[in-house]
Symmetry: C2
Subunit: 219 residues, 2 copies
Protein backbone atom coordinates (compact mmCIF):
# COMPACT_ATOMS: atom_id res chain seq x y z
CA UNK A 1 0.00 0.00 0.00
CA UNK A 2 1.10 3.59 -0.55
CA UNK A 3 1.39 5.07 2.91
CA UNK A 4 2.29 8.56 4.11
CA UNK A 5 4.02 8.91 7.45
CA UNK A 6 4.02 12.50 8.61
CA UNK A 7 6.76 13.41 11.05
CA UNK A 8 10.42 12.44 11.17
CA UNK A 9 10.75 12.22 14.94
CA UNK A 10 11.04 9.00 16.92
CA UNK A 11 7.43 7.96 16.36
CA UNK A 12 7.39 8.65 12.62
CA UNK A 13 10.73 6.93 12.27
CA UNK A 14 9.64 3.79 14.06
CA UNK A 15 6.33 3.46 12.22
CA UNK A 16 7.77 4.30 8.80
CA UNK A 17 10.63 1.84 9.24
CA UNK A 18 8.24 -0.94 10.19
CA UNK A 19 6.04 -0.20 7.18
CA UNK A 20 9.05 -0.25 4.83
CA UNK A 21 10.14 -3.58 6.30
CA UNK A 22 6.66 -4.90 5.50
CA UNK A 23 7.14 -3.92 1.87
CA UNK A 24 4.84 -0.93 1.68
CA UNK A 25 5.55 2.09 -0.48
CA UNK A 26 6.25 4.70 2.19
CA UNK A 27 6.88 8.41 1.96
CA UNK A 28 7.94 10.25 5.09
CA UNK A 29 6.78 13.85 5.23
CA UNK A 30 8.57 16.66 7.00
CA UNK A 31 8.30 20.43 7.06
CA UNK A 32 10.89 20.64 4.31
CA UNK A 33 11.32 18.26 1.37
CA UNK A 34 14.85 17.16 2.24
CA UNK A 35 15.06 17.49 5.99
CA UNK A 36 18.19 16.16 7.66
CA UNK A 37 16.10 13.80 9.79
CA UNK A 38 14.26 12.56 6.72
CA UNK A 39 17.48 11.89 4.81
CA UNK A 40 19.00 10.13 7.77
CA UNK A 41 15.93 7.91 8.01
CA UNK A 42 16.02 7.20 4.27
CA UNK A 43 19.61 5.97 4.63
CA UNK A 44 18.62 3.82 7.61
CA UNK A 45 16.13 1.93 5.43
CA UNK A 46 18.61 1.55 2.59
CA UNK A 47 16.85 4.06 0.41
CA UNK A 48 13.81 1.82 0.05
CA UNK A 49 11.35 4.68 0.56
CA UNK A 50 10.79 8.32 -0.28
CA UNK A 51 10.92 11.58 1.62
CA UNK A 52 9.18 14.86 0.89
CA UNK A 53 7.14 17.65 2.39
CA UNK A 54 4.07 16.91 4.51
CA UNK A 55 1.98 17.66 1.40
CA UNK A 56 4.11 15.47 -0.92
CA UNK A 57 3.76 12.52 1.42
CA UNK A 58 0.02 12.87 1.98
CA UNK A 59 -0.56 13.33 -1.76
CA UNK A 60 1.10 9.97 -2.41
CA UNK A 61 -0.44 8.08 0.53
CA UNK A 62 -3.64 6.12 0.23
CA UNK A 63 -3.66 6.34 4.01
CA UNK A 64 -1.84 8.74 6.32
CA UNK A 65 -0.13 8.11 9.64
CA UNK A 66 0.08 11.45 11.40
CA UNK A 67 3.10 10.98 13.66
CA UNK A 68 3.83 14.67 14.05
CA UNK A 69 4.46 16.15 17.47
CA UNK A 70 0.93 16.57 18.82
CA UNK A 71 1.45 20.17 19.84
CA UNK A 72 2.18 20.99 16.17
CA UNK A 73 -0.09 18.52 14.38
CA UNK A 74 -2.72 21.04 13.39
CA UNK A 75 -0.08 23.27 11.78
CA UNK A 76 1.52 20.31 10.01
CA UNK A 77 -1.80 19.05 8.67
CA UNK A 78 -2.72 22.53 7.45
CA UNK A 79 0.48 22.40 5.41
CA UNK A 80 -0.82 19.14 3.93
CA UNK A 81 -4.10 20.70 2.90
CA UNK A 82 -7.62 19.27 2.80
CA UNK A 83 -7.29 18.06 -0.80
CA UNK A 84 -4.56 15.59 0.13
CA UNK A 85 -6.61 14.16 2.99
CA UNK A 86 -10.06 13.91 1.45
CA UNK A 87 -11.58 10.45 1.87
CA UNK A 88 -8.39 9.03 3.36
CA UNK A 89 -7.92 7.31 6.68
CA UNK A 90 -5.86 9.70 8.83
CA UNK A 91 -4.41 7.95 11.85
CA UNK A 92 -3.63 10.55 14.49
CA UNK A 93 -0.92 9.15 16.75
CA UNK A 94 0.44 12.17 18.62
CA UNK A 95 -0.38 13.65 21.99
CA UNK A 96 -0.70 17.42 22.31
CA UNK A 97 1.98 17.72 24.98
CA UNK A 98 3.63 20.92 26.12
CA UNK A 99 6.98 20.23 27.78
CA UNK A 100 7.97 23.88 28.05
CA UNK A 101 6.58 24.56 31.52
CA UNK A 102 8.19 21.99 33.79
CA UNK A 103 5.58 19.30 34.47
CA UNK A 104 4.18 18.36 31.04
CA UNK A 105 0.63 19.45 30.29
CA UNK A 106 -1.75 19.03 27.36
CA UNK A 107 -2.29 21.97 25.02
CA UNK A 108 -5.91 20.87 24.59
CA UNK A 109 -8.01 18.56 26.77
CA UNK A 110 -11.18 17.90 28.73
CA UNK A 111 -13.68 19.76 26.51
CA UNK A 112 -11.80 19.07 23.28
CA UNK A 113 -8.89 17.02 21.94
CA UNK A 114 -6.35 16.97 19.16
CA UNK A 115 -8.28 14.19 17.45
CA UNK A 116 -11.43 16.30 17.41
CA UNK A 117 -9.55 19.40 16.26
CA UNK A 118 -8.20 17.51 13.26
CA UNK A 119 -11.59 16.02 12.38
CA UNK A 120 -13.21 19.48 12.57
CA UNK A 121 -10.45 21.05 10.48
CA UNK A 122 -10.63 18.28 7.84
CA UNK A 123 -14.24 17.08 7.82
CA UNK A 124 -13.66 14.92 4.73
CA UNK A 125 -10.72 13.05 6.24
CA UNK A 126 -11.50 9.84 8.15
CA UNK A 127 -9.70 10.63 11.40
CA UNK A 128 -8.94 7.68 13.67
CA UNK A 129 -7.14 8.24 16.97
CA UNK A 130 -4.92 5.27 17.76
CA UNK A 131 -1.60 4.15 19.23
CA UNK A 132 -1.07 7.33 21.28
CA UNK A 133 -1.33 5.51 24.61
CA UNK A 134 1.85 3.46 24.16
CA UNK A 135 5.50 4.06 23.37
CA UNK A 136 6.42 3.89 19.67
CA UNK A 137 8.42 0.68 20.04
CA UNK A 138 5.40 -0.96 21.64
CA UNK A 139 3.18 0.39 18.85
CA UNK A 140 4.91 -1.76 16.26
CA UNK A 141 5.90 -4.62 18.57
CA UNK A 142 3.27 -5.20 21.26
CA UNK A 143 5.11 -8.33 22.40
CA UNK A 144 7.58 -6.01 24.14
CA UNK A 145 4.94 -5.96 26.87
CA UNK A 146 4.09 -9.38 28.31
CA UNK A 147 0.67 -10.97 28.06
CA UNK A 148 -2.46 -9.42 26.67
CA UNK A 149 -2.74 -5.65 26.87
CA UNK A 150 -4.99 -3.11 25.27
CA UNK A 151 -5.00 -0.40 22.70
CA UNK A 152 -7.77 2.17 22.38
CA UNK A 153 -9.15 3.46 19.12
CA UNK A 154 -11.83 6.02 18.28
CA UNK A 155 -13.22 7.85 15.31
CA UNK A 156 -16.46 8.77 13.59
CA UNK A 157 -16.19 6.36 10.66
CA UNK A 158 -16.78 2.68 11.39
CA UNK A 159 -15.19 1.55 8.14
CA UNK A 160 -12.04 3.54 8.83
CA UNK A 161 -11.79 2.08 12.34
CA UNK A 162 -12.23 -1.43 10.96
CA UNK A 163 -9.37 -0.81 8.52
CA UNK A 164 -7.09 0.58 11.24
CA UNK A 165 -7.93 -2.38 13.48
CA UNK A 166 -6.92 -4.76 10.70
CA UNK A 167 -3.71 -2.84 9.91
CA UNK A 168 -2.69 -2.77 13.58
CA UNK A 169 -3.13 -6.54 13.68
CA UNK A 170 -1.69 -7.48 10.28
CA UNK A 171 1.18 -5.01 10.25
CA UNK A 172 2.13 -4.48 13.89
CA UNK A 173 0.99 -7.69 15.58
CA UNK A 174 -1.82 -6.48 17.82
CA UNK A 175 -4.67 -8.85 18.59
CA UNK A 176 -7.97 -7.57 17.29
CA UNK A 177 -9.76 -8.44 20.53
CA UNK A 178 -7.30 -6.28 22.47
CA UNK A 179 -8.19 -3.15 20.52
CA UNK A 180 -10.99 -1.32 22.32
CA UNK A 181 -13.23 0.98 20.30
CA UNK A 182 -14.09 3.99 22.49
CA UNK A 183 -16.66 5.32 20.04
CA UNK A 184 -16.63 8.57 18.09
CA UNK A 185 -13.62 10.88 17.80
CA UNK A 186 -14.44 12.61 21.11
CA UNK A 187 -13.05 9.47 22.72
CA UNK A 188 -9.69 11.05 21.89
CA UNK A 189 -10.14 13.23 24.97
CA UNK A 190 -9.72 10.31 27.31
CA UNK A 191 -7.01 8.71 25.20
CA UNK A 192 -4.92 11.88 25.24
CA UNK A 193 -5.69 12.51 28.94
CA UNK A 194 -4.02 9.18 29.73
CA UNK A 195 -0.69 10.94 29.17
CA UNK A 196 -0.19 12.37 32.67
CA UNK A 197 -0.38 8.89 34.23
CA UNK A 198 1.71 7.41 31.41
CA UNK A 199 4.45 9.98 31.99
CA UNK A 200 4.48 9.34 35.75
CA UNK A 201 4.66 5.59 35.16
CA UNK A 202 7.47 6.10 32.66
CA UNK A 203 9.45 8.03 35.27
CA UNK A 204 8.75 5.39 37.90
CA UNK A 205 9.38 2.29 35.75
CA UNK A 206 12.40 3.79 34.04
CA UNK A 207 11.61 2.60 30.52
CA UNK A 208 8.61 2.91 28.20
CA UNK A 209 7.82 -0.75 27.57
CA UNK A 210 4.61 -0.97 29.56
CA UNK A 211 0.92 -0.80 28.88
CA UNK A 212 -2.41 -1.32 30.54
CA UNK A 213 -4.70 -4.27 30.35
CA UNK A 214 -8.38 -4.05 31.02
CA UNK A 215 -9.80 -6.59 33.44
CA UNK A 216 -13.58 -6.98 33.48
CA UNK A 217 -15.68 -8.68 36.15
CA UNK A 218 -19.29 -9.70 35.97
CA UNK A 219 -22.24 -7.45 36.52
CA UNK B 1 -10.31 3.34 64.63
CA UNK B 2 -12.44 6.48 64.68
CA UNK B 3 -13.07 7.28 61.05
CA UNK B 4 -14.94 10.12 59.35
CA UNK B 5 -16.61 9.44 56.04
CA UNK B 6 -17.66 12.66 54.36
CA UNK B 7 -20.49 12.32 51.86
CA UNK B 8 -23.69 10.30 51.96
CA UNK B 9 -23.84 9.42 48.29
CA UNK B 10 -23.11 6.01 46.81
CA UNK B 11 -19.37 6.21 47.45
CA UNK B 12 -19.62 7.43 51.05
CA UNK B 13 -22.32 4.84 51.71
CA UNK B 14 -20.29 1.95 50.39
CA UNK B 15 -17.07 2.90 52.18
CA UNK B 16 -18.78 3.78 55.47
CA UNK B 17 -20.76 0.53 55.46
CA UNK B 18 -17.62 -1.51 54.89
CA UNK B 19 -15.81 0.29 57.71
CA UNK B 20 -18.73 -0.32 60.09
CA UNK B 21 -18.73 -4.00 59.16
CA UNK B 22 -15.05 -4.09 60.07
CA UNK B 23 -15.89 -2.77 63.54
CA UNK B 24 -14.59 0.77 63.22
CA UNK B 25 -16.24 3.72 64.92
CA UNK B 26 -17.61 5.57 61.92
CA UNK B 27 -19.33 8.93 61.61
CA UNK B 28 -20.82 9.87 58.26
CA UNK B 29 -20.79 13.59 57.58
CA UNK B 30 -23.30 15.44 55.43
CA UNK B 31 -24.14 19.06 54.79
CA UNK B 32 -26.76 18.90 57.53
CA UNK B 33 -26.54 16.96 60.79
CA UNK B 34 -29.55 14.72 60.18
CA UNK B 35 -29.76 14.43 56.43
CA UNK B 36 -32.32 12.01 55.04
CA UNK B 37 -29.56 10.08 53.23
CA UNK B 38 -27.51 9.93 56.41
CA UNK B 39 -30.41 8.61 58.48
CA UNK B 40 -31.27 6.05 55.86
CA UNK B 41 -27.67 4.84 55.88
CA UNK B 42 -27.64 4.70 59.68
CA UNK B 43 -30.68 2.41 59.58
CA UNK B 44 -29.02 0.24 56.95
CA UNK B 45 -26.14 -0.48 59.33
CA UNK B 46 -28.46 -1.15 62.25
CA UNK B 47 -27.59 2.09 63.98
CA UNK B 48 -24.03 0.92 64.63
CA UNK B 49 -22.52 4.27 63.63
CA UNK B 50 -23.11 7.99 63.90
CA UNK B 51 -24.15 10.75 61.54
CA UNK B 52 -23.48 14.48 61.75
CA UNK B 53 -22.32 17.48 59.80
CA UNK B 54 -19.13 17.39 57.75
CA UNK B 55 -17.43 19.20 60.67
CA UNK B 56 -18.86 16.83 63.33
CA UNK B 57 -17.60 13.81 61.46
CA UNK B 58 -14.12 15.18 60.77
CA UNK B 59 -13.79 16.33 64.39
CA UNK B 60 -14.39 12.76 65.56
CA UNK B 61 -12.30 11.01 62.94
CA UNK B 62 -8.65 10.17 63.43
CA UNK B 63 -8.60 9.83 59.67
CA UNK B 64 -11.00 11.20 57.07
CA UNK B 65 -12.36 9.61 53.91
CA UNK B 66 -13.52 12.44 51.69
CA UNK B 67 -16.20 10.76 49.57
CA UNK B 68 -18.00 13.94 48.66
CA UNK B 69 -18.96 14.66 45.07
CA UNK B 70 -15.69 15.91 43.60
CA UNK B 71 -17.24 19.00 42.07
CA UNK B 72 -18.27 20.07 45.60
CA UNK B 73 -15.40 18.70 47.68
CA UNK B 74 -13.66 22.01 48.24
CA UNK B 75 -16.89 23.56 49.55
CA UNK B 76 -17.56 20.55 51.77
CA UNK B 77 -14.06 20.57 53.20
CA UNK B 78 -14.25 24.30 53.88
CA UNK B 79 -17.31 23.52 55.99
CA UNK B 80 -15.15 21.06 57.91
CA UNK B 81 -12.49 23.66 58.62
CA UNK B 82 -8.72 23.37 58.84
CA UNK B 83 -8.75 22.65 62.60
CA UNK B 84 -10.59 19.38 62.10
CA UNK B 85 -8.15 18.23 59.44
CA UNK B 86 -4.81 19.26 60.94
CA UNK B 87 -2.31 16.41 60.99
CA UNK B 88 -4.91 13.87 59.81
CA UNK B 89 -4.77 11.62 56.78
CA UNK B 90 -7.38 12.94 54.35
CA UNK B 91 -8.18 10.41 51.65
CA UNK B 92 -9.63 12.24 48.68
CA UNK B 93 -11.74 9.77 46.71
CA UNK B 94 -13.91 11.94 44.46
CA UNK B 95 -13.49 13.08 40.88
CA UNK B 96 -14.32 16.69 39.99
CA UNK B 97 -16.90 15.76 37.36
CA UNK B 98 -19.40 18.11 35.81
CA UNK B 99 -22.35 16.21 34.34
CA UNK B 100 -24.36 19.33 33.55
CA UNK B 101 -23.16 19.88 29.99
CA UNK B 102 -23.87 16.63 28.14
CA UNK B 103 -20.59 14.77 27.82
CA UNK B 104 -19.04 14.81 31.34
CA UNK B 105 -16.00 17.01 31.84
CA UNK B 106 -13.67 17.76 34.74
CA UNK B 107 -14.09 21.05 36.62
CA UNK B 108 -10.32 21.15 37.11
CA UNK B 109 -7.57 19.27 35.26
CA UNK B 110 -4.30 19.31 33.33
CA UNK B 111 -2.52 22.13 35.20
CA UNK B 112 -4.19 21.41 38.55
CA UNK B 113 -6.38 18.80 40.23
CA UNK B 114 -8.86 18.41 43.05
CA UNK B 115 -6.22 16.62 45.13
CA UNK B 116 -3.85 19.57 44.77
CA UNK B 117 -6.59 22.09 45.48
CA UNK B 118 -7.39 20.35 48.75
CA UNK B 119 -3.73 20.10 49.77
CA UNK B 120 -3.20 23.81 49.03
CA UNK B 121 -6.35 24.77 50.93
CA UNK B 122 -5.43 22.61 53.94
CA UNK B 123 -1.62 22.56 54.06
CA UNK B 124 -1.60 20.80 57.44
CA UNK B 125 -3.80 17.92 56.31
CA UNK B 126 -2.06 14.87 54.87
CA UNK B 127 -3.94 14.59 51.58
CA UNK B 128 -3.74 11.25 49.80
CA UNK B 129 -5.55 10.74 46.51
CA UNK B 130 -6.74 7.17 46.21
CA UNK B 131 -9.53 4.90 44.97
CA UNK B 132 -10.95 7.44 42.49
CA UNK B 133 -10.07 5.30 39.46
CA UNK B 134 -12.50 2.49 40.29
CA UNK B 135 -16.19 2.07 41.05
CA UNK B 136 -17.10 2.17 44.75
CA UNK B 137 -18.03 -1.51 44.91
CA UNK B 138 -14.63 -2.38 43.50
CA UNK B 139 -12.99 -0.03 46.02
CA UNK B 140 -14.05 -2.19 48.94
CA UNK B 141 -14.07 -5.52 47.11
CA UNK B 142 -11.32 -5.68 44.48
CA UNK B 143 -12.12 -9.35 43.87
CA UNK B 144 -15.13 -8.16 41.84
CA UNK B 145 -12.55 -7.73 39.08
CA UNK B 146 -10.69 -10.92 38.15
CA UNK B 147 -6.96 -11.35 38.58
CA UNK B 148 -4.48 -8.74 39.63
CA UNK B 149 -5.33 -5.13 38.86
CA UNK B 150 -3.98 -1.82 40.00
CA UNK B 151 -4.84 1.11 42.15
CA UNK B 152 -2.98 4.41 42.03
CA UNK B 153 -2.13 6.51 45.02
CA UNK B 154 -0.36 9.85 45.43
CA UNK B 155 0.35 12.44 48.07
CA UNK B 156 3.13 14.55 49.55
CA UNK B 157 3.53 12.62 52.80
CA UNK B 158 5.21 9.22 52.63
CA UNK B 159 3.95 8.16 56.05
CA UNK B 160 0.36 9.00 55.13
CA UNK B 161 0.64 7.03 51.89
CA UNK B 162 2.07 4.04 53.75
CA UNK B 163 -0.90 4.14 56.14
CA UNK B 164 -3.41 4.36 53.30
CA UNK B 165 -1.68 1.50 51.50
CA UNK B 166 -2.02 -0.64 54.64
CA UNK B 167 -5.64 0.32 55.18
CA UNK B 168 -6.56 -0.45 51.58
CA UNK B 169 -5.01 -3.89 52.04
CA UNK B 170 -6.19 -4.71 55.55
CA UNK B 171 -9.67 -3.26 55.26
CA UNK B 172 -10.63 -3.56 51.61
CA UNK B 173 -8.56 -6.51 50.41
CA UNK B 174 -6.18 -4.85 47.95
CA UNK B 175 -2.73 -6.35 47.49
CA UNK B 176 0.01 -3.95 48.50
CA UNK B 177 2.05 -4.71 45.38
CA UNK B 178 -0.89 -3.72 43.20
CA UNK B 179 -1.03 -0.21 44.66
CA UNK B 180 1.13 2.09 42.53
CA UNK B 181 2.54 5.22 44.13
CA UNK B 182 2.51 8.00 41.50
CA UNK B 183 4.49 10.39 43.69
CA UNK B 184 3.45 13.74 45.12
CA UNK B 185 -0.10 15.04 45.13
CA UNK B 186 0.23 16.44 41.60
CA UNK B 187 -0.12 12.81 40.50
CA UNK B 188 -3.83 13.43 41.16
CA UNK B 189 -3.98 15.17 37.77
CA UNK B 190 -3.45 11.94 35.91
CA UNK B 191 -5.61 9.93 38.29
CA UNK B 192 -8.55 12.28 37.82
CA UNK B 193 -7.92 12.56 34.07
CA UNK B 194 -8.49 8.80 33.81
CA UNK B 195 -12.21 9.55 34.17
CA UNK B 196 -13.04 10.23 30.50
CA UNK B 197 -11.77 6.77 29.49
CA UNK B 198 -13.38 5.17 32.55
CA UNK B 199 -16.76 6.68 31.64
CA UNK B 200 -16.51 5.52 28.03
CA UNK B 201 -15.57 2.02 29.16
CA UNK B 202 -18.47 2.02 31.63
CA UNK B 203 -20.86 2.85 28.80
CA UNK B 204 -19.34 0.20 26.59
CA UNK B 205 -19.05 -2.60 29.18
CA UNK B 206 -22.44 -1.85 30.72
CA UNK B 207 -21.40 -2.20 34.35
CA UNK B 208 -18.69 -0.67 36.53
CA UNK B 209 -16.86 -3.79 37.68
CA UNK B 210 -13.68 -3.33 35.68
CA UNK B 211 -10.23 -1.94 36.24
CA UNK B 212 -6.86 -1.69 34.58
CA UNK B 213 -3.80 -3.76 35.16
CA UNK B 214 -0.33 -2.55 34.39
CA UNK B 215 1.84 -4.88 32.35
CA UNK B 216 5.56 -4.12 32.28
CA UNK B 217 8.12 -5.49 29.85
CA UNK B 218 11.87 -5.34 30.06
CA UNK B 219 14.03 -2.40 29.12
Amino acid sequence: MKIAVLGSGMVGNTIATKLVQLGHQVMMGSRTAKSAAGQEWLCSVGGKAQIGTFADAAALGESVFDCTNGANSLTALRAVGANNLRGKVLINVGNPLDFSKGMPTLTVCNTDSLGEQLQREFPEALVVKALNTVNCEVMVKPSLVPGDHNLFICGNDQGAKAKVNRWLCDWFGWKSENIIDLGDISGARGMEMWMPIWLRLYGKIGHPHFNLRLSIGSK
